[in-house]
Symmetry: C2
């Protein structure tokens, strides 16, 4: 069984909040990594991001991403599973997420994005 | 004669700073209005934005936009002239500015963007 914390609906996603949310390099790195594992609509676990930041810091960033409508979070036991809300973001602001991800990919080295250690596929 | 305050070079434009800069509704409104007057590469004057915010607040927002590499500013006498750095932004992050402007246009009413009183054309 899993529970779901509150999320904004698609229509409640706001542009200023979205841009503010993605202006943080750690959150941008999380979204960049989610997008690269997303084609199969995979969920990633909070533990996959341990290289990104301290644990309490990560919890804060995941909450910010959820509140801005960027990720869908579900909690099972003590584990959080995250998924990019690509469909909602593309419907609300066509082309925006792709443009931001393309820009982030271009600057991935410069932004020193850490790589995800995906353990959740196991 | 006019003088030019410091600007980042094209290569110095950073994605997190750019997104943070445009996450502010007043700055987003300024850029949205500049983009609509930009086809002819028109400069707008600070006075054109008087409806947007208080004078000292506006000066702060213009400085943020200049420091993030979004606008080119030149000062002539007591007047600031602003121009969107579209070429630099498009070269640095292809498609990003357009996607953000398209999203802003979509939400212009919701974001309550003020209209520019262009007096500088005179």
């Amino acid at each position: 069984m899993s529970r779901t914390p509150p999320h904004p609906t698609r229509d409640q996603i706001e542009l200023p909040l979205l841009l503010d949310c993605l202006s943080d390099p750690t959150r941008l790195a999380i979204v960049y990594n989610l997008s690269r594992h997303d084609p199969a609509a995979t969920e990633l676990r909070c533990g996959d991001f341990n290289a990104f930041s301290g644990k309490s810091n990560l919890a804060y960033h995941f909450a910010k991403l959820r509140e801005a409508g960027v990720i869908q979070t579900r909690i099972a036991g003590t584990t959080r599973y995250m998924k990019l809300r690509r469909k909602d973001l593309d419907a609300r602001f066509p082309g925006l997420l792709d443009a931001i991800l393309k820009s982030a990919t271009r600057d991935a080295e410069r932004l020193q994005f850490p790589e995800c250690e995906v353990v959740s596929a196991a």
